[in-house]
């Protein structure tokens, strides 16, 4: 025997599950009667959504001036929120595409969930670039639509790249998500007893019968889409960062922005997945599928990306000093010590210091602590965007133009309102779509990989399933 012992990966699905119990566990949620609690939650989410509609309606009626923007600070909460939501979206694609290509089977428990989050987060993000402009009724001029003015948009502008990047990202994510859904939709169709469900799920399951040919096409399509989505994970936030990096404002004009933005996006996206997952698995009793092992793995990702972000913060300071550019030096000193120091230190605390607790295995596996940190991280990432967007504009080249930015009630309402949009969509998702990629999870349980023979004699033996004891949990 070698001194190295093979330590098997912990089982991905805990509990004594077979295919049919998994099917029941996941799809019963979509088939049973709508619980009252869901309606309550939906009402809350809809109220917030209405808040957003009102805030946007008044914005269109009255003008951008209802926000707290001023002369040096032309971008405020709208752009912060846009970047924040887009960043959150990144975790879904990373989990579903990149981890798929790297054959990380643990992704199957959370990929559906995370992808849904991605799509809804991108929808929330998409609201802001559309409404933050002064003349909303001509915002379509950003698109390269042939027109009587014979005017193309300005292809030099990062805002235009944004339009392409985000819309491509949304489209590919949606397709990817939908393709993955098809076998599961068929499962629900097959289990549905009422007519409406039969027809609706029937239509969307595209005639899936589970034939070999279907699976073959499905696997190919899924692989191709994963390949397509992978570069998008990097490109979207890179291009979002170009909005800042391509400009010439001190604190924005930085080559570190693309990797730093992508790391930050994954950081905040994983935190958001954790926040949602911890709540959902509790409510829907999914702890066997979304296990503490998943949580721990995700916490490690948070620790790594959080440290990358922290490294970027420090690197920015170093480069500002190393460059010798007085405006760069000044803006970083002002960030840490100037009028927005409170925001800067909130960012540092939340993003750089708080994930360091995850060096401890105990804390990584603590559900309550993880939930707390996941929220802290998202607050921190919001502040990061605030610090980048506002401080650089407020204190740029000419001291005479320096001014202080503070939001109005309308900024806050619009932001809070997007949570209404997000949760409305998410609740609909939980209610009507399988929140677990059922077909994929089935493929990773031991039952799907039977070794029905004796390794020495090559004789048939009946399948013997060994399932580790579920771990006891403290919630």
């Amino acid at each position: 025997m070698s001194k190295y012992q093979y330590v098997p990966e912990p089982a991905l699905v805990k509990g004594d599950h077979d295919f049919s119990s998994l099917t029941r566990l996941v799809t019963d949620i979509n088939l049973r009667e709508t619980p009252k609690a869901w309606y309550l939650a939906m009402m809350g989410a809809n109220a917030l959504l209405m808040l957003m509609v009102v805030a946007i309606g008044y914005l269109i009626w009255e003008g951008t001036g209802i926000w707290g923007l001023n002369n040096p600070v032309g971008w405020g909460w709208a752009i912060i929120n846009f970047v924040w939501w887009v960043g959150i979206g990144h975790a879904g694609t990373l989990i579903s595409a990149i981890l798929f290509l790297f054959r990380q089977d643990w992704r199957t428990a959370i990929n559906r969930f995370a992808e849904a989050m991605t799509i809804f987060a991108v929808m929330c993000a998409g609201v802001f670039p559309a409404i933050h402009v002064g003349r909303i009724w001509v915002v379509y001029w950003m698109f390269p639509i042939p027109n009587q003015m014979a005017m193309w948009p300005n292809f030099n502008s990062p805002l235009l790249w944004d339009v392409f990047a985000v819309s491509t990202y949304f489209t590919v994510s949606l397709l990817f998500w939908y393709v993955g859904l098809v076998p599961d939709l068929a499962t629900i169709r097959d289990r549905a007893t009422d007519k409406i469900r039969k027809v609706a799920y029937g239509i969307f399951s595209l005639g899936w019968t589970g034939s070999n040919r279907h699976w073959w096409n499905y696997e190919k399509a899924y692989m191709i889409l994963a390949g397509l989505a992978t570069p998008l994970v990097l490109s979207v936030h890179t291009i979002v960062s170009f909005d800042f990096a391509v400009s010439m404002i001190p604190g924005w004009h930085t080559t570190i922005f693309p990797p730093y933005f992508v790391a930050g996006a994954i950081f905040s996206g994983f935190a958001m997945v954790l926040t949602l997952m911890i709540v959902a698995r509790k409510i829907y009793g999914m702890k066997d599928i979304m296990t503490d092992d998943h949580m721990e793995k995700m916490n490690i990702v948070i620790l790594v990306t959080g440290s990358m972000v922290g490294f970027a913060y420090i690197m920015e300071f170093f480069i500002a000093w190393y460059s010798g550019v007085e405006y760069e030096k000044a803006i970083f000193m002002l960030r840490a010590t100037g009028p927005y120091a409170w925001a800067y230190w909130a960012m540092m605390t939340c993003n750089v210091f708080s994930p360091q607790f995850f060096w401890s295995k105990k804390l990584r596996r603590s559900v309550g602590f993880t939930f707390f940190i996941s929220i802290v991280v998202n607050i921190g990432m919001w502040f990061e965007r605030f610090v980048i967007t506002v401080t650089s504009l407020a204190n740029d080249y000419l001291p005479s133009s320096w001014d202080y930015y503070s939001p109005t009630i309308w900024d806050v309402m619009t932001y809070v309102g997007t949570f209404g949009l997000f949760f409305t969509m998410f609740l609909l998702f939980l209610r009507f779509l399988p929140m677990i990629a059922l077909a994929e999870v089935k493929a990773v349980i031991p039952l799907a990989d039977p070794h029905n023979y004796d390794e020495e004699t090559n004789e048939y033996v009946a399948p013997k399933v060994e399932v580790p004891e579920p771990q006891s949990e403290k919630v």
Partner: protein, 1040 residues
């Protein structure tokens, strides 16, 4: 160039067309507008509106409401109803049935006129579009203008179209017509024996003054008082003490090598002759090469003034100490020169002051080419001492002239006012006639003028607004604006002009000559006849030609005030002995009352442009404050303004038993233990702009209650911190350059040693990064660039601007000129507070120097830089901002979707965003918005909400000149000097040069070749077309 054209023939023709216009608007009003509250109540729109719980948009939550508090009237629901009704007014267009001579639609006409302020005319050229004046510019031929203007001259056009002007005569508050008034005047003033008091503003009009003589002879029991709250009475009295005659002091700074200002802010627009002085002083500081020489300016003052910021040396002293300082200077000079024997042996606490020695030496060694002046508010004895010093130095006749002004009253008008008020109180006055003055507001508080009026049976006044005084009258007559009525007068220095009207009186008002004539003769006579009759008396022959020439040129060169040959009067020495033995300075805290830098004595309070023009030194808009030094603030426990939100402490000032609460403001460079207050704010019932609201919490405070007959200028007072706070709208939060290089300066000797001191390399010790690499590639325009550089063809002119920081003294007239030319909206205090000011050119003011108590203040006007590699153009997603072939960074409003990315990416932060539909607020509120709309320049688009705007280099002027040039010469390059931007034209210091860079001989090209020329943020490689010329100072080594 602007060609003033004779107006004589025009005026009658214009009448025809305007009647048509008026008829048109009458028709419109019948269908769309309402005129009175009663009529409004019958208006269906209003009834619908009144049934709603809240007027449209008027919920409390929304931002819009307080924005609507901009020009506050809009808060009134009534006005909102009007707004709803007039959104789409029905308008009919009629052709001219007869084409008026010279009028080509779309082509403006220019006529010469002149603006009186305190009776002193500044020659102007008015730009007229189809019969309405839209812009005022300086008249090159007029000595008080020489092409320059003050902020008040520029804003006068808004004054003409101010919808809050008085619209009709009022008889005991009821509307009447001017015919009614004439009828009243004929009967009331038929009794020539009645006791009449005339209180008039200063007026140099020969027509007016001959009527004044008629008044005196006709009404045997009349008294005549000329009252100006900030007039020159003390100077005149001082000259009487010194020279025995009542004379005006008129400096000629062209001849002055050394200028000493003892708290005399002669360059600021508040000085009656500021434009001429600013031209003269700055002209002596034009240095074009290393052989250049400059005058040297010393300022001794309490508050930080524009003159003080322009001076080479500045000394902080309390206002009350300047008297002693003046005598000490006279005493020091008496040991060096003859003629000041009155001060022989005199000494006081300042006698050993370092400055006294330095100034005495400087003045002595520059005898005959120095100029000493003292603030006009100082008492006559101080004025006399200064006059005597100038006389002894031989400056009289060279740098200063003492003018015989024929219309000066032979009395001390301050005393005369007190006397007449006492008579009024005693019931000894039957009728008071007030012309232009507003004594209820501005007269010394202890006179209690308002109360005195109640003892007078008949009170008649003529004023622009139904102001504090007009509300107390039996008969109020609405005054015609100077652009509406014929008039005449003299400039401060004595140049005679005719004031040509540009338009029929909008509200049927009377000019002051017509008004006075009605009182004297009991009938309405047109001002045109009155003025022409005066001028007919001047010429024995050839009147018509002369008259045409005067109107054309805007000046009558055949007459001027004559300079008196002055000698020290016999009583001077004893007057000085008495004065010097009674010198007192205020102990403890002192309060100084000055005219406001933008509202003056309050007469301009209803002009939004001036309210929103940042104070040149503090950069505060829409408010007056109690200015104090950092040390005084610390003593009072007043805290620093916080960055971003300018929330400041409120202090209570008690003087003569009266007290007021006013926001405190820390002004570095202010004298310690001294507080400066300014007048003009805190008004009530004047107009939508001027009115203060919510007592001291907005719109400033009226400080006249503190101003008594003994405390006209300064007095000691009790000041305490109330603990309340108040938010100020200040447009500049950060006052330090942070060691950055936007502003570059050197002393003239340093310049001569190192002419390249302003270059990037001199400032930073290394060349602009990327420049060497660019030169290797054969590109000498700037550092290497990633982008393909746009080419700027030679067949087009290439526009560029140079701003000479050595000339600019920060008055802010460029801002107002630009606002007038480019239809820039007024946005109101709340929006300014939120940092959304719309000015296309701003005037940055930085404090420089190590001494926080007494820093140097520098001014830097910042328009759009029109970068050749413009960062704004790269980032606009819809290509709404692009470059023209003639090198201008253009903004296409129609294409703009308002992402604000361009403004973010502008390192100079000159782009301005329409966060709301500002012009709608500005141009469509009130019951007859068409009046204010007439002030708009038809050649410039009024911008809608949600679009970006910025300085265009006055592209409308440029393109008009290009078209003209192309028609005449075939080339689109206008001759140098043909096209001037509005800021350049208005500048009294000629600090702005603009022109074609492809013409090597153009002024701007020559300036850009000067060593002092530098680009702001050159290392960013934006290649700005606007550049600066570094400031030079001329310090005295003895004070270094």
């Amino acid at each position: 160039m602007l060609q003033p054209t004779a107006r004589v023939a025009i005026i009658n023709n214009v009448k025809d067309s305007e009647i048509t216009d008026q008829q048109m608007s009458e028709e419109v009003k019948q269908t769309t507008y309402w005129k009175s509250l009663k009529e409004l109540a019958n208006n269906k729109e209003y009834q619908k509106f009144a049934e709603r719980e809240f007027p449209e948009n008027a919920t409390e939550l929304i931002d819009g409401v307080s924005r609507r508090g901009f020009l506050r009237v809009m808060g009134a629901s009534v006005a909102l109803a009007g707004l709803a009704a007039c959104r789409r007014p029905v308008q009919k267009i009629l052709p001219y049935s007869k084409q008026p001579e010279d009028v080509v639609p779309g082509v403006p006409l220019y006529y010469a006129t002149a603006m009186p302020v305190q009776g002193n005319l500044v020659g102007l050229i008015a730009e007229n579009h189809e019969g309405r004046p839209t812009k005022l510019e300086g008249n090159d031929l007029h000595p008080a203008s020489k092409g320059g203007t003050s902020i008040f001259n520029q804003a006068a056009i808004l004054g003409l179209y101010d919808p809050d002007r008085s619209r009709s005569p009022l008889n005991n508050g009821k509307k009447a017509t001017k015919e009614d008034f004439a009828e009243f005047a004929a009967s009331h003033f038929a009794n020539t024996g009645q006791r009449v008091a005339f209180i008039s503003e200063a007026n140099s009009s020969p027509t007016y003054n001959s009527l004044k003589e008629q008044v005196r002879s006709r009404f045997s029991n009349s008294t005549w008082v000329t009252y100006e709250p900030f007039g020159e009475d003390n100077i005149i009295e001082g000259n009487r003490i010194a020279f025995g005659n009542r004379l005006r002091t008129h400096y000629n700074y062209t001849n002055a090598d050394v200028i000493v200002s003892l708290n005399d802010d002669f360059m600021a627009s508040t000085h009656p002759n500021s434009v001429e002085y600013a031209k003269q002083v700055s002209a002596r500081r034009k240095v074009t090469d290393t052989n250049g020489e400059m005058n040297r300016i010393y300022a001794v003052e309490d508050a930080f003034t524009l003159t003080g910021s322009y001076a080479d040396h500045r000394l902080r002293l309390k206002a009350s100490e300047i008297e002693a300082f003046t005598y000490a200077l006279a005493a020091a000079l008496s040991t060096r020169i003859n003629g000041l024997s009155a001060f022989n042996g005199y000494s006081n606490q300042f006698f050993d002051h370092k400055w006294i020695t330095v100034l005495a030496d400087e003045l002595t060694s520059n005898a005959g080419s120095s100029a000493l002046s003292v603030g006009s508010q100082y008492k006559p004895e101080v004025q006399a001492a200064v006059a005597a010093i100038n006389q002894a130095l031989g400056n009289a006749g060279s740098t200063v002239n003492y003018l015989e002004v024929p219309h000066f009253d032979d009395q001390n008008n301050h005393q005369a006012l007190s006397d007449v008020v006492a008579e009024m109180k005693a019931g000894n006055i039957d009728t008071v006639v007030m012309v232009g003055v507003n004594p209820v507001h501005t007269a010394p508080a202890d006179l209690d003028f308002e109360n005195a009026l109640t003892n007078v049976e008949t009170v008649v006044n003529l004023s622009d607004y139904v102001d504090e005084t007009a509300k107390k009258t039996t008969w109020h007559v609405n005054r015609a604006h100077f652009l509406e009525a014929w008039g005449d007068g003299y400039s401060y220095g004595g140049a005679r002009s005719v004031i040509q009207p540009q338009i029929q009186p909008l509200h049927n008002g009377l000019s002051e000559v017509e008004f006075l004539n009605t009182i004297v003769n009991g009938e309405l006579t047109s001002g045109y006849d009155l003025v022409q009759n005066t001028f007919k008396g001047y010429y024995s022959s050839g009147f018509d030609t002369r008259w045409t020439n005067i109107l054309h040129d805007g000046i009558d060169t055949t007459d001027s005030y004559s300079a008196a040959n002055v000698r020290i009067a016999s009583g001077f020495a004893s007057a000085m002995n008495q004065a010097t033995s009674n010198v007192s300075t205020t102990s403890g805290m002192e309060v100084v009352i000055r005219p406001d830098a933008t509202l003056y004595d309050g007469r301009f309070a209803n002009l939004g442009w001036l309210q929103e023009l940042p104070d040149p030194m503090t950069k505060i808009t829409w408010d007056n404050v109690a200015l104090m030094s950092p040390a005084t603030a610390e003593k009072l426990g007043v805290s620093e303004q916080t960055a971003g939100k300018d929330i400041t402490d409120v202090v209570e000032i008690t003087l003569n038993g009266k007290s007021l609460k006013i926001a405190a403001w820390i002004q570095p460079g202010h004298a310690d233990d001294s507080i400066t207050l300014t007048t003009g704010y805190g008004r009530e019932g004047i107009g939508r702009v001027a009115n203060s609201y919510m007592d001291y919490t907005a719109g400033g405070v009226d400080v006249y209650p503190l101003r008594g007959t003994d405390t006209m200028f300064y007095a000691s007072a009790d000041v305490s911190n109330t603990g309340d706070t108040y938010e100020i709208a200040c447009v500049q939060d950060h006052h330090s350059l942070e060691g950055r290089d936007m502003y570059r300066q050197a002393s003239i000797s340093e310049y001569k040693e190192n002419p390249d001191f302003a270059s990037f390399e001199s400032v930073h010790t290394y060349p602009v990064p990327g420049m060497a690499e660019a030169k290797e590639n054969g590109d000498t325009d700037g550092p290497i660039s990633l982008f393909d550089e746009q080419t700027y063809p030679d067949y087009e002119p290439q526009w560029g601007m140079a701003i000479d920081l050595n000339s600019c003294f920060g008055c802010g007239v460029c801002v107002i000129a630009c606002q007038s030319e480019n239809n820039i909206p007024v946005i109101g205090k709340k929006e300014v507070k939120r940092g959304r000011e719309m000015h296309w050119i701003r005037n940055d003011r930085y404090y420089v120097g190590d001494d926080a108590d007494s820093p140097q203040a520098v001014h830097q006007p910042v328009p759009c830089m029109h970068c050749e590699l413009a960062p704004c153009e790269q980032v606009c997603p819809v290509a709404a901002t692009t470059h023209s072939e003639d090198g201008m960074n253009q903004m296409t409003y129609n294409r703009c979707i308002g992402t604000r990315y361009c403004a973010n990416n502008c390192p100079y932060k000159v782009r301005r965003f329409n966060f709301f539909n500002y012009p709608k607020e500005y141009l469509t509120t009130g019951d007859d918005p068409d009046i204010i709309q007439m002030a708009m320049n038809p050649e410039v688009t009024v911008r809608f909400r949600g679009v970006m705007e910025k300085c265009t280099y006055c592209v409308q002027r440029v393109n008009r000149a290009k078209i003209e040039a192309k028609k005449e010469t075939g080339s689109p390059k206008p001759a140098d000097g043909t096209v001037k931007t509005a800021c350049q034209q208005a500048c009294p210091a000629d600090a702005i040069y603009f022109g074609d860079l492809t013409d090597d001989n153009s002024e701007v090209a020559r300036m850009k070749r000067n060593e002092r020329n530098f680009q702001m943020l050159e290392e960013l490689n934006t290649r700005p077309r606007t550049s600066y010329m570094a400031k030079l100072t001329n310090p005295n080594p003895a004070l270094a």
